[in-house]
């Protein structure tokens, strides 16, 4: 099998599409992270304007959550429509008269205003020009001492009304209500980066975030092209009649596809490592020299495996470029679903988990368990899909699914035979 794998790798290395792939990876890296060298993360100084680059606080206080939730609810109530994101693209949900009344009562309860006066005050508030809200005579605000549990109950009811993808779940509210860290928080974030992440970890995480976007789509083009090329050269019958088993053929091809796809990524991942090494010279920071392997193999390899395996299966089944369309749809959905969790920690089951930041180690640590499960899922999925492909391949070899028509579509009727 290894000689077959080697041959497959060589074939891929000789193809035009592979080098276009590599060029895409390089260009993408350079455009997103190319300028990092001069702007590496340093320790925060006291009295800075803001510490936004050091991320957001790990969580929000109940008061912050309630304030944020109220402001969002008020806006939606006023416009009579809410934005939800069931699959990432905005889906507007309009509320009915009855629903508006119900929410109005909630608002009245939470702000301490009467329902009718609330509407009038809201009207005035909403009509204020941009930026002057804070000077207004009345601002929608939570009543003092409002119970958090009651608040959550209200939010729960709002979620029911609006359907999936609304922003009023407790988790989402917590996530969105967070404010940027203060000096203490920034210090902690930097400390995490240096001690827990070995400095390189943060940068490789960012690298994985960006490259993950490409890994969720480009390997599909590679594998689809490879398999369809087989058909163009009419190699099917030649390969089918050889003594190599389907399992060996399919596995060798899949492994070759995965290896060739991840190899340039590993090579490029050396770049941020170098940036970090250069930065850390003389600072005494203890770098994690293995960070690139950990992230390349742990974070980026599973989607490469899954995308390659799926591409193989769909192409073998359909014998058309359909796998590309399938992968584009999956890719789109994954990207859109990740939009609300860009700063990291909220990995879920996404093919492309997002963590668009060098810091937020806290989010990473919290989400780590889920991330591991997520990555294992896709690796396992790849194995399952490969097994399915082996089944299909074997069936084709035996003459089923043949679209050349001789078996399936050209049956003689019994009186003609």
């Amino acid at each position: 099998m290894w000689s077959l794998w080697k041959k497959e790798c060589k074939q891929t290395a000789k193809s035009l599409i592979y080098w276009l792939y590599v060029i895409c990876l390089v260009l993408f890296y350079v455009s997103q992270m190319g300028g990092m060298r001069g702007r590496m993360m340093t320790a925060p100084k006291e009295g800075q304007e803001d510490y936004r680059t050091y991320g957001k606080k790990d969580t929000a206080s109940e008061a912050e959550i309630m304030d944020y939730g109220l402001s969002r609810l008020v806006t939606g109530y006023y416009l009579e429509t809410f934005d939800t994101y069931p699959v990432g693209y905005v889906k507007e949900v309009n509320i009915s008269e009855k629903e508006k009344e119900e929410i109005g009562e909630m608002l009245a309860d939470m702000t301490g205003e009467q329902p009718d006066t609330l509407d009038k005050k809201l009207e005035e508030y909403m009509m204020l020009p941009w930026g002057t809200e804070e000077e207004a005579s009345w601002v929608p605000a939570m009543r003092d001492g409002y119970s958090y549990e009651k608040f959550l109950k209200n939010m729960g009811r709002v979620c029911e009304i609006l359907g999936p993808g609304s922003e009023f779940t407790e988790a989402k509210l917590k996530y969105s209500a967070r404010t940027p860290v203060d000096y203490e928080g920034a210090k902690k974030a930097y400390e995490n980066l240096v001690t827990k992440d070995g400095y390189t970890g943060g940068y490789l995480r960012l690298f994985s975030d960006y490259m993950g976007i490409l890994m969720g789509i480009l390997p599909a083009f590679l594998i689809t092209s490879r398999i369809l090329r087989d058909r163009r050269a009419k190699m099917q019958d030649l390969i089918f009649t050889r003594k190599t088993s389907s399992a060996v053929i399919v596995t060798a091809r899949c492994l070759a596809g995965i290896c060739m796809a991840i190899l340039p990524v590993i090579a490029i991942s050396v770049m941020p490592m170098i940036d970090c090494i250069l930065f850390a010279k003389g600072t005494g920071i203890r770098l994690d020299y293995l960070a690139f392997l950990k992230y390349d193999l742990g974070w980026l390899l599973p989607p490469v495996m899954a995308v390659t395996a799926l591409g193989m299966l769909v192409t073998e089944l359909s014998e058309t470029p359909l796998a590309i369309l399938v992968q584009v749809i999956w890719w789109f959905a994954s990207l859109q679903m990740g939009i609300n969790g860009m700063s990291g920690g909220d990995y879920g089951w996404n093919l492309i988990p997002r963590h668009n930041s060098v810091v937020n180690y806290g989010g990473f640590a919290n989400g780590f368990g889920q991330l591991v499960k997520n990555r294992l899922l896709y690796a396992a999925l790849a194995v399952v899909l490969t097994a399915a492909t082996i089944g299909i391949y074997e069936a084709k070899r035996k003459g089923h699914f043949r679209r050349r028509g001789n078996i399936l579509f050209n049956r003689k009727k019994s009186d003609q035979a």
Partner: protein, 304 residues
């Protein structure tokens, strides 16, 4: 209608293909070198090894490839006037294929449209042609379900659909079974009655059975042009048959060109070429085209 007026004109054309000093390069490689040929009406055979340049020459005649030097005229029309040429030629490529999901009839119809035939014309001719190549029963079958022989027959049918003056057929019988091969040859002979049929092949038997005039191509140059008789003259009296023991075979092979061997127990009956009587027991044989071809290949480059 496009065709009836043309058919008049075509009938009065002089039916020859003239090639003068044709050169064709693929990048640096010279695929055809100083080809000079005059092909009259009837069956013309182009014989040569694989890679000799036969397909290149065929494609150049069919306006699918551009020549670098020289002049090519088909029925007086220079090959640069591609659209005019394509009206009067029919081409059957080596690995003929059509869109897999079209039926036989649909393929013929579509190709007919592409040749500029009108609807009535197509409705008249297609059933006749399918009948002639024995594909009438298969006319609603999809192309992808056809056997090799059937595909080839469809290929011929589409090549003569628009009644071309010149038919260019590239290795039409390769891969066909003996029966199909004979049927194909006969069909081509019928078609050649008032047309030029240029047939390229590396199967000597095809030439023998059908062609009067032939050319032999090797590595892009013509080794021979002329009639089959003229070719045979070259090896007249040079073909011998002998029965020898197996141990003597190697020695014989080193000295003479062996064109066939038949093992009978401990002895071998060899057929070989020699300039004069080689030894006792060797007997003269009637030369055939294969012998002549082998002889030519051996001499390589020698003009007759």
């Amino acid at each position: 209608m496009l065709y009836t007026a043309n058919e008049e004109r075509v009938r009065h054309m002089n039916t020859t293909v003239e090639i003068r000093h044709l050169d064709k390069y693929y990048g640096r490689k010279k695929a055809l070198s100083d080809i000079n040929l005059t092909i009259p009406a009837g069956m013309f055979g182009l014989l040569g090894r694989n890679g000799a340049g036969k397909t290149t020459l065929m494609k150049t005649l069919a306006t699918l490839l551009e020549k670098q030097k020289g002049e090519v005229r088909i029925c007086g029309i220079p090959v640069e006037n591609a659209s005019q040429i394509r009206r009067i030629i029919g081409y059957l490529p080596q690995d003929f294929s059509m869109y897999p999901n079209m039926t036989v009839y649909e393929s013929m119809d579509y190709l007919g449209v592409l040749s500029g035939l009108g609807k009535k014309e197509r409705q008249k001719r297609i059933p006749l042609l399918l009948e002639r190549v024995n594909l009438s029963d298969a006319q609603y079958k999809k192309v992808k379900t056809l056997s090799g022989g059937m595909k080839r027959r469809l290929g011929i049918a589409q090549a003569i659909l628009h009644n071309p003056k010149v038919l260019i057929v590239d290795e039409p019988t390769a891969g066909l079974d003996p029966e199909e091969r004979v049927r194909f040859r006969n069909l081509l002979c019928e078609i050649a009655e008032d047309r030029i049929v240029i047939l390229s092949t590396h199967i000597v038997g095809d030439i023998e059975a059908t062609c009067e005039n032939i050319a032999v191509l090797d590595e892009g140059t013509l080794l021979f042009t002329g009639t089959v008789e003229e070719l045979l003259l070259a090896v007249k009296g040079k073909v011998y048959k002998a029965e020898i023991s197996r141990s003597e075979l190697e020695k014989l092979k080193k000295r003479y060109l062996v064109t066939s061997m038949l093992t009978m127990g401990n002895n071998v009956i060899v057929r070989f070429l020699a300039e004069k009587q080689p030894f006792e027991g060797a007997r003269h044989c009637e030369a055939d085209v294969e012998d002549a071809y082998m002889y030519l290949m051996q001499k390589r480059g020698g003009k007759l």
